[in-house]
Symmetry: D2
Subunit: 158 residues, 4 copies
């Protein structure tokens, strides 16, 4: 199972702590973590997964794998900028959004377009913004709940 | 000037009428229209621009230019699926969102990430969903207002 | 009909003169010219097409349409770097290679992979490098011959 | 260190045996193997790396990670078709080409364009096709020689 973690490159300490815990639990459940490979939420999630001995894949916007954060085991250099967000979504079976700004919103929207579940933790309140499929955009209480809901969604037949 | 028109491939008659009018006014103002090249809002906007003698560019998700709607003068076949949304946004100086679902939301989010103005007409209510820059995400009353606001934004120095 | 012109961003005066003539004849035959939008062979071909009143589409590697050469009527900003070469090939019905280096070679190879004809004029001598389909990789004597062969190939049913 | 292995999805038993040996030696040297994730040379190389306990990343053309061969540990679904070849090249520090057809040629050309070394084993004879930088396009005698030359090139300062 591959779980995507999406969220901002700049994040406050609360969001980073949540992302660390999300990453840790992804690894403890034996899933691969895929993310955008940069800082903030992405780095904290990779750090958590690494701490639990898990594998981390970072799909980078730039052309150089050296730009990956220190906890990405397998960097992928796309050279495509923000268009790489679609690759993160396609690679993940399910996604967890922690905090995040416009880039995260684009990933959420692409996931919903591709009918992949997004579990959100302190991220965009999309139901208030228009018609959103409640089965696909799910709110979590805390990191443990987020990972549990993500795994359940990924195991559901599509 | 290049103005992007984004919106759903399936759209009701009201959204299509608005998109036609938006496309027509883009052409009347001498701007190039860029869109995703398919049906619904995209087709109606291209039809409006064509009717007014304007040029239309369609950035298609698939590999075959024959998939473009009949009013696309210059089709571009990306073969990248939804990742082509980033190319529409990068090519446009400013964007007008008419109606639309998740794909449109991804284009709005990418535009805001790249600090390009989006003028919306019956599309996503983003301020209700989280922190959105009010200078970049602007609501229009009608098609005339949308095109006027888009042109004003594109002419503003960045 | 859409004809791709591929070749280096730096080109000597002979290659530029050939590219100008190729572009001019593409326009005179009522076809759209698509290219990479930058200098050298691309600029000369666009200049030739423009001089004959033809339409030119430039699929740029960067994020800013302002990087297009002065003879590109319809710039497309991909932000994908060299990966945009696949978009040029997909958009063109047939391609003409004038001179060119590694970037041009990548476009030729992608075209052959997608079973599109490439007419070459002073470009790579691929039959000497390995097994190449002689129906797909055609050598032209001069610009007039190149455009004639390209049009014939594009009109052939696939 | 990340070493790319490129070559055809259909390959004869000799090319597959060479690719297996290349993959095995990449893993024995502690490097990560990146490839296109499909069959033929790609599958044989992943199988070799897996047999030696190494890590394998597969950058797939399609939208579904399930299309990866059985020896890809970390699949990446790009949904970009052949444009994903640029991502393989950007991700690799150096590339080894085994056999291969047009797709492989496109990867070689992109690598040379980005000034990355390609070590070839029974692949395209590019020096005969035009001006090629002999420092960047290197011929190997056998799989052991190929991996040794690739590692040496990747360790050279750029």
């Amino acid at each position: 199972m591959i779980i995507g973690v999406i969220g901002g490159a700049s994040a406050d300490s609360r969001a980073r702590a949540q992302a660390f815990e999300v990453g840790k639990r992804i690894a403890e459940n034996g899933a691969i973590l895929v993310c955008g490979g940069l800082g903030g939420v992405m780095e904290a999630a990779c750090k958590g997964a690494s701490a639990a001995g898990g594998a981390t894949v970072g799909i980078l916007p730039g052309s150089d794998t050296a730009a990956a954060n220190a906890y990405v085991a397998f960097p992928v250099a796309t050279g495509m900028g923000i268009a790489r967000n679609a690759i993160i979504v396609r690679t993940a079976d399910v996604l967890i959004a922690v905090d995040g700004s416009y880039g995260t919103l684009s990933e959420i929207a692409i996931a919903l377009n591709l009918k992949k579940t997004v579990v959100q933790l302190g991220s965009w309140r999309l139901p208030e913004a228009g018609k959103v499929d409640a089965d696909l955009y799910v709110t979590a209480r805390d990191p443990a709940d987020a990972v549990q809901k993500a795994i359940a969604a990924a195991q559901r037949p599509r």
